[in-house]
C-alpha cells in the first residue's frame, strides 16, 4: 500500500514502514498547514477485560485508570519496581470493565510479558491481530473526515474518543496524536485499512507522511520518544512528565519514585543556526560536560536545529550551551536551553 503511494521503506521495531514519501520537510509542513496521514498500525494495542473487584490492572499504570471518564483516554506510564519507564502508553476507557492500552511497537514483547506476568484475573486481548490505526493530523483533519465520511467531530474534545461508522464499518476515533497540533487517531479493522487509506488520499487536502516527519513533528512539539528520552533508567519525574503520575493511587514503582530524588533533568534546545543537535552529542557549559542529547533534528517550522537532552540535576540550568559530536574536526553547535512551551510556540503551535 505504501510503496504504491511512493513511500521509501525502512525497518522499525520489526516492521517495514515508510520513512518518507515526498520528502520529510514537505510532509512536515503539509501536516502543519493542511492534513497528513500516518499509518501507525504497527503500534501495540491490548484490550483488557477487568473483573469488578480487581485492582491488578490499575496497579500497572501511573494514573488511576478508574478515574478516567467514559469516552476518554489518558497518557501515562508503565513503571518497573525502580520507577524506571517500561513504556509510555495511552489508556482508553472503553467501558466500566474494558480498557485499551496503546504502546510502542519496539517494546511490544516486553510490555506483553509485563502484562502476562502481572495480570492473573484480567483477560488480555492482543488487539493488533484485528485492529489497525491511521493517524490523521493537521488543522484540516476534522474538515476532511466530515466531508469524506459525513462524521461530525466538532463535539469531540482533546483526549476524548467516540465510535463512528466509516466505510460501513464501526471505527473509533480519538482526538489525539503525536504531532502537537490538531488531529485524530482512527482505529479500524484490518480489512478496511487500505480502503480507508486510499479514500483519505482522494482528498486533495490530504498527503501521506512517514516516520521521518512523524519524528520532526513530535520533536517540535517537545514530545518524548521511547528509547530516546524515555527508558528503564529514566523516571517520569526526570523526563518532566510528573503530571502524568497520580500519587493518590497505588502503582508499581510508586514508593521509589516518591523517595528517590531525580538524577537528571530534561532540557529542550534550539540551535543558533540550521545545524542540529543529534542523538548522543554531548552538552557543554563552557568547558564542563553537563549532559547529552537524546533526540535532535532540523525543525522545518523554525528553520533551525532543535533537540531534547538531559543535564545533571545539581547545577543551575545555563541559558546557553554548546553541543559537540566530539569527533575530530567537528565544531561545536551553540544552542539555547529554552522551556518546552517556548519551543512549542516557536514551532507555531499554540499550547
Amino acid at each position: 500500500m505504501h510503496i504504491k503511494t511512493g513511500g521509501r521503506i525502512v525497518e522499525f521495531g520489526g516492521f517495514l514502514l515508510p520513512l518518507q514519501y515526498d520528502g520529510i520537510i514537505k510532509e512536515h509542513l503539509w501536516c502543519r498547514s493542511s492534513c497528513a496521514i500516518f499509518d501507525t498500525s504497527h503500534m501495540a494495542k491490548f484490550i483488557f477485560r477487568v473483573k469488578k473487584t480487581s485492582l491488578e490492572l490499575g496497579h500497572l499504570f501511573t494514573i488511576d485508570i478508574e478515574k478516567i471518564p467514559a469516552g476518554c483516554c489518558r497518557y501515562c506510564f508503565l513503571l518497573n519496581e525502580d520507577g524506571g519507564i517500561i513504556d509510555d502508553v495511552v489508556v482508553y476507557k472503553l467501558s466500566d470493565s474494558e480498557y485499551m492500552a496503546v504502546s510502542n511497537a519496539a517494546t511490544k514483547l516486553k510490555v506483553q510479558g509485563w502484562y502476562l506476568s502481572h495480570l492473573k484475573e484480567t483477560e488480555i486481548v492482543e488487539a493488533d491481530t484485528y485492529l489497525d490505526k491511521i493517524d490523521i493530523q493537521g488543522p484540516l483533519s476534522a474538515d476532511v473526515l466530515r466531508d469524506l465520511f459525513q462524521i461530525d467531530l466538532s463535539m469531540l474534545s482533546f483526549y476524548h474518543f467516540s465510535r463512528f461508522t466509516l466505510l460501513k464499518e464501526e471505527a473509533f476515533i480519538s482526538y489525539s496524536g503525536y504531532t502537537g497540533g490538531k488531529g485524530y487517531e482512527i482505529y479500524i479493522t484490518k480489512q478496511k485499512t487500505e480502503e480507508l487509506w486510499e479514500a483519505l488520499l482522494q482528498d486533495g487536502r490530504v498527503k501521506p507522511a512517514g516516520l521521518g516527519a512523524r519524528d520532526s513533528l513530535r520533536l517540535e512539539a517537545g514530545l518524548p520518544l521511547y528509547g530516546n528520552e524515555l527508558d528503564e533508567e529514566t523516571t517520569p519525574i526526570e523526563a518532566g512528565l510528573g503530571r502524568f503520575v497520580d500519587f493518590s493511587h497505588d502503582f508499581i514503582g510508586k514508593d521509589i519514585l516518591k523517595e528517590n530524588p531525580p538524577k537528571k533533568k530534561i532540557v529542550f534546545l534550539i540551535s543558533e543556526t540550521r545545524q542540529s543537535p543529534r542523538y548522543s552529542y554531548k552538552i557543554f557549559s563552557g568547558d564542563e560536560e553537563i549532559g547529552y542529547i537524546t533526540s535532535g533534528c532540523f525543525s522545518p517550522s523554525i528553520q533551525k536545529g532543535i533537540g531534547i537532552g538531559y543535564i545533571k540535576k545539581d547545577i543551575t540550568v545555563p541559558d546557553k550551551v554548546s553541543i559537540s559530536a566530539e569527533k575530530e574536526g567537528c565544531g561545536k553547535i551553540n544552542c539555547y536551553i529554552i522551556p518546552r512551551k517556548q519551543l512549542v510556540r516557536a514551532a507555531g503551535l499554540k499550547k
Partner: protein, 127 residues
C-alpha cells in the same frame, strides 16, 4: 540515479572533477537522494589542507548528520558559499551548482584510488 562520465568517485559517494591540477569536489546524486532534504552544509575555509579520504566537512538532513570525505589531497582554493547559504541546491543540482570546494591537488596519482564512472555505476547498483 544520475552519474557523470567525466568524474571520479569514492565509496562514500563524493565525486571529483579533475582539470589540470585543480579538483572540484562534490557529493553524488545517490548521496543527496539517500540523505533527503539537505538542511545544513559545513565546509572548510580557503587554504585548508585536505588529505585523501579524510574529513572535508558535514552535510545534514532533517534526520541525520553525515561526514563528507575528500576524494583527493590538496589545498582548498575555492569554497561554494552558495550551498552554505542554500543547502537545498545540493538536492537540486549535485553535479553543477552544488559543487562544494575546489582544491589544488597534491598529486594526480591519487586518482588511481578512485572509481571510474563505470565502476561507480556498478557499485551503487549493488548497494
Amino acid at each position: 540515479m544520475e552519474v557523470r562520465e567525466e568524474l571520479f568517485y569514492t565509496k562514500e559517494h563524493e565525486w571529483v572533477k579533475v582539470e589540470g591540477n585543480k579538483g572540484t569536489i562534490g557529493i553524488t546524486e545517490y548521496a543527496t537522494h539517500t540523505l533527503g532534504d539537505i538542511t545544513f552544509v559545513e565546509l572548510p575555509s580557503i587554504e585548508t589542507k585536505l588529505s585523501q579520504f579524510t574529513r572535508l566537512g558535514t552535510v545534514e538532513s532533517v534526520k541525520a548528520a553525515s561526514d563528507i570525505f575528500s576524494p583527493v589531497s590538496g589545498k582548498v582554493i575555492s569554497v561554494n558559499e552558495k550551498v552554505v547559504q542554500n543547502p537545498e541546491i545540493l538536492n537540486s543540482s549535485p553535479y553543477d551548482d552544488g559543487w562544494l570546494v575546489v582544491v589544488e591537488m597534491d598529486s594526480l596519482e591519487e586518482i588511481k584510488n578512485l572509481m571510474t564512472v563505470q565502476q561507480y555505476r556498478e557499485y551503487i547498483k549493488n548497494l
